[in-house]
Symmetry: C2
Subunit: 182 residues, 2 copies
Amino acid sequence: MDKSDFKRLSRKQIYQGKVINVVQDTMQLPNEKESLFDLVQHNGAAAIIPVDSEGNILMVEQFRNPVNDITLELPAGTLEKGEDPLECAIRELEEETGYASNDLTFLIKFYTAIGFCDEIIHIYVANHLEPSKQNLDDSEFINVKPYSLERLIKMINQGKLIDSKTITGILAYKQYIETNKN
Amino acid sequence: MDKSDFKRLSRKQIYQGKVINVVQDTMQLPNEKESLFDLVQHNGAAAIIPVDSEGNILMVEQFRNPVNDITLELPAGTLEKGEDPLECAIRELEEETGYASNDLTFLIKFYTAIGFCDEIIHIYVANHLEPSKQNLDDSEFINVKPYSLERLIKMINQGKLIDSKTITGILAYKQYIETNKN
């Protein structure tokens, strides 16, 4: 199987929204048949694991429309078109948590919903946090709360952390800490 | 902050695709302002960590349109509307890998892209695999390959596994194995 066996014959514009653009692709498959694929295009996002001087992780509480509930997540934000994910992480850390850092280390990146969406989330660990100023726009309502890594791992096992970037970020950070200890 | 401070005033239907439905919600925020939110609705999916008699994990290679490339992932499939995720996992395991199992254990579930999409992926560990028959529809082209857990962890650290369900599933499975050993 080779990717050249799959050919995009056409792309139809469906919907331009605020953070997503939806297109419909007609693909030719290896058996020469044609098939339609919906594709949600997204600029991507950056998430941050902000580690304070006591080793706690700053988490954010916010309302999420898809869940219709308040969630607890890693701070994160959407990339501007073509933006460097590290720049986005530095900005979103300060805007959402009110702490600044120039000590960010890339941890992991991944496609969130690879079946139908091209969004990539880039996750960074931020150390040496300096108090700055939270800067939310008037549609953002965010509470910041510190949690120990142990407590967050327990919350993952209890099903209390519910989104891919938060779970993946915390599990990858645990592994990163353990590897760097040895 | 309470979820009742966020009210959906209206929902506009935008696009019904094969696996996604797109709507646009007008929400009232705690400051009484109105804001538009795009929402991608999805039935959800089930993914499987199929563990063979030697402890290897059966992975699937397939073409992915959003990436325009061949990827290596955990086997997975989309839920029928209202389908029990466990039923879906049992079906997709057999269809995609050609192995059947009745020994599935729930591992973890999560929202893939919680900012704009309601898709939940449910991940199960499948043991006691029995050879059956791969059953792909004529738009599916899938190769099945066994990998050791150690190799998959290394591939995550090298950035060679790229999607949320595969990375989260493998990291959560490693933790599950380690916890059950002790």
